[in-house]
Amino acid sequence: MTINIEASNGVCHAQVTGEMTIYHAAEMKGELLPHLDGCNEMEINLSGVSEIDTAGFQLLLLVKREANRANKLLRFVAHSPATLEVLELLGIASNFGDTVPHVL
């Protein structure tokens, strides 16, 4: 698992590659959250995610919620098939209350 981060004009582009699983969850949290703190807008590119489990998904939820709380813009883009599969399974596109984003 690697996370490449580029920041420009307060917008942070993060590209996650590899497995977003329990094995890397703590490490990912340590990388993503500080960067969210340091920017106004964040875009997380998920195209390279080869596998995602509950821990990875939970982390995405956390980042999204933190961004919402801090009133920052957060986008997940270019979902890889693995991430889409999980979002589909959990019916994330549907609206289940405003504490959780409509679109991950």
Binding site: K29, Q58, V100
Partner: protein, 741 residues
């Protein structure tokens, strides 16, 4: 390798896919006229999604791979990332057709590979889709409409205190350590999804602490799942979570649980009660009404002092208060949600009113009813012969009931014509693009019912007529504007019942038929003579003659003069008639009149020697006696002079090689079909007869001149004659005998 159970499921998949594809087409067409229709977008997405999902279950990789790409594009459309325009809809329609082709090819042979052409077409479409699926634009956080599957809500049968939903409700809360113990909750949910259908799933991140306190290796999530699976028990669901039993709290409510059980569930769970209540409504486990009922029940219990613990009382009243408040704060939101639920509910109710029956079972039933009609007739005949008045009375009651059963059974085969009409939405759309004309289709009388076998055969003639209307009827836009008509042309399809038959109309507001031009053309073709006076109807009727076309331009749609005569022949084969009503500059309407059913006809019974024959009554023009002198004169020829016209005839005695001597007084039954007349020479006229037509067996499928058989009250078999064949034969015999002379 497939067992029969799977085979059956596969058939269901094909059937459902076809229905979904039809729904998808309808929604795409709706979207074309209203590009902002989020409901239509969701419906299209759902159709693709379901086909992909079910296709995956059967390992139909070809369908899954293609539909997946389509679905991705649709998802972007749904999120507002890809604009809806004509080009996209055209592409999606092509994709729909492609999926349809894939489905049909697999339906024909589940192990087949798609043929080269389909494959190439698929690759081309995928390339076009790619342009829409990876524009690199960041997704816009649009409010995605909730898929309708979240609103599978049935009528709340509150009276017995149970909820209407026939889904299992599963509440899952995982322990913090579940991930560290090497279990992945998603894997269990995925497994559950393989067992049945996850109707709705809600992720509860409420326990997720603030970022600094959150341990990425702990699990904080809960799930509320609405799960549908027939023939499953609670233990089987528990088995799914067997491995993770230690690390999760699992609550399962079976379908139609009592409302109290849901209330207990809400109370048991750690999350905010209101959110849970809403969640259950969203899941479709509870309806708003049921939740209110639950609250009312609780309140009652509290008042009567059954709930002792003050803490619980507190929670309950709090729940009620907040809900009421909620209702007051956001009434429109609640209304909107309820409105949506209502629509879904109505659909569901409609659905449960229908049963799917195999067509052949129905045919078998009709067949049996036919037998009953025949046997019943025989019984009443016997009863009449006996002088037992009680028996006669009983049989007359019986025949009345049999008649009712017959009508009821035939009614079962009646289907609404709307489905056939709706197919033309696509046709009109495509053809108007091709012709570069702006044309809408207006459908009326879609609920008019007619026999399934008629509906199946009416499609082709309608297709010809609709295309014809669009191509020749409706003028180019400039011309329409010149004539002071709206630029947009209209083709209308209409159906209604009229005195025992069905009328199907195909009309347009186009240029109408040019009487003079048709007459001139008919003159040229030698169909009429210059001094003949014809009514408008008769002149318009000429366009149904073979090879007749007045179109100046032959397009690839119509104008070659084939088509209209085919239309007439098809309709006459259904024992129907066609007439045309037209006003120049105003429009044309083609009226097709069809019998309600093909299974039972009013027939005319004739006897030849010992055998009986039936012809449809409406084809019989008149009956004349073949006088002794004429008989003598026509011994070798096959025509008589009927009031100055030549009437070719055929001796049924010779045609069917009937033994025995002809009766002294032979009769000629004059029959007409497709504008031609011929005579059938018979021994005896036996009058009108309601005939239940039974198709001839396979063995007789090559038999000419006989379209079926029927059984008389006496138990004897009578053949139903195919008049068109006999007329042709009579005409050819006549020309043969003339050429001999």
């Amino acid at each position: 390798m497939r067992d029969t159970g799977l085979d059956q499921a596969l058939q269901t998949f094909f059937m459902e896919s076809r229905e979904l594809l039809i729904a998808m087409e309808e929604s795409l067409l709706a979207l074309e006229s209203a590009p902002d229709d989020t409901e239509a977008i969701s419906a299209i997405f759902r159709a693709a999604h379901t086909i992909k999902g079910s296709g995956g279950m059967f390992g139909l990789d070809g369908i899954v791979a293609f539909t997946h790409v389509v679905e991705n594009v649709l998802d972007r459309v749904r999120n507002g990332e890809v604009p809806v325009n004509g080009e996209l809809i055209a592409l999606l329609l092509c994709c729909r057709d492609h999926i349809g082709t894939l489905v049909e090819q697999l339906a024909a042979d589940p192990d087949a590979k798609p043929d080269m052409e389909t494959e190439a077409n698929g690759v081309m479409l995928l390339n076009q889709l790619k342009a829409h699926s990876s524009t690199g634009q960041p997704p816009v956080a649009a409010v995605a409409p909730a898929p309708a599957k979240t609103q599978i809500v049935t009528q709340p049968p509150l009276d017995d205190g149970t909820v209407a939903s026939d889904n299992w409700h599963i509440s899952l809360r995982f322990a913090r350590d579940v991930l560290r113990n090497g279990m992945d909750p998603l894997a269990f949910i995925r497994y559950l999804g393989n067992m049945g259908k996850i109707v709705h799933i809600a992720v509860l991140p409420d326990a997720l602490p603030f970022a600094p306190d959150m341990d990425a290796e702990s699990c904080y999530l809960g799930f509320e799942i609405d799960f549908h699976c027939d023939g499953i028990d609670k233990a089987a669901i528990e088995m799914v979570f067997e491995f993770v039993r230690e690390d999760c709290s699992l609550r399962i409510l079976p379908p139609h649980s009592r409302i109290e059980e849901y209330v207990e569930l809400i109370n048991d769970l750690p999350e905010d009660k209101i959110r849970l209540g809403e969640l259950l409504i969203n899941c479709g486990s509870l309806t708003k009404k049921e939740l209110d009922e639950a609250l009312r029940l609780q309140a009652l219990r509290v008042e009567s002092g059954q709930e002792a613990a003050p803490a619980e009382t507190d929670a309950v009243s709090q729940l009620g208060d907040i809900l009421v408040e909620q209702g007051m704060v956001q009434p429109e939101l609640v209304d909107a949600a309820l409105g949506k639920q209502k629509v879904a509910k109505e659909n569901k109710v409609q659905e449960s009113k229908l049963i799917r029956i195999q067509a052949d079972k129905l045919d078998q039933l009709i067949n049996l009813v036919g037998e009953i009609v025949i046997t019943g007739a025989a019984v009443s005949l016997l009863a009449q012969r006996s002088s037992d008045s009680a028996l006669q009375e009983a049989t007359s009651t019986l025949s009345r009931l049999v008649e009712e059963i017959r009508d009821g059974a035939l009614q079962l085969r009646m289907v609404q014509i709307g489905e056939t009409f709706n197919r033309f939405n696509r046709v009109v759309r495509d053809v108007s693009k091709e012709l570069n004309k702006d044309i809408t289709l207006v459908i009326g009388g879609a609920e008019t019912e007619l026999d399934k076998s008629v509906v199946e055969k009416i499609g082709d003639p309608l297709m010809h007529l609709v295309r014809n209307s669009m191509d020749h009827g409706i003028e180019q836009t400039e011309l329409r504007l010149q004539r002071g008509k709206p630029a947009k042309g209209t083709v209308h399809l209409n159906a209604y019942h009229e005195s025992g038959s069905i009328v199907v109309e195909v009309g347009d507001d186009g240029g109408g038929l040019n009487r003079a031009r048709i007459f001139a053309k008919a003159l040229e073709k030698g169909l009429v003579t210059a001094n003949q006076t014809l009514s408008d109807q008769e002149v318009y009727g000429l366009i149904f003659e073979a090879g007749f076309s007045t179109a100046e331009a032959v397009t690839n749609l119509s104008g070659r003069g084939v088509g209209m005569d085919v239309v007439r022949r098809n309709i006459e084969a259904l024992r129907g008639t066609v007439e045309i009503d037209s006003r120049e500059g105003v429009g044309t309407t083609v009226k097709i009149r069809l019998p309600l059913t093909l299974a039972i006809i009013d027939g005319f019974l004739m006897g030849v020697g010992s055998a009986s024959y039936v012809v449809p009554l409406d084809m019989v023009m008149e009956c004349v006696e073949l006088s002794e002198a004429e008989r003598y004169a026509t011994r070798d020829s096959h025509y008589i002079n009927l009031r100055g016209t030549v009437l070719p005839f055929i001796r049924l005695r010779d045609h069917f090689r009937e033994q025995g001597k002809a009766s002294r007084y032979e009769k000629i039954v004059v029959v007409q079909y497709g504008g031609q007349q011929a005579g059938l020479v018979v021994d005896e006229l036996m009058g009108e007869f309601q005939a239940v037509i039974k198709p001839m067996g396979k063995f007789f499928s090559n038999l000419k001149g006989v379209s079926g058989s029927t059984i008389l009250a006496s138990g004897e078999v009578a053949l139903v004659l195919e008049v068109s064949e006999l007329i042709q034969r009579a005409v050819s015999l006549e020309s043969h005998s003339i050429s001999k002379v």
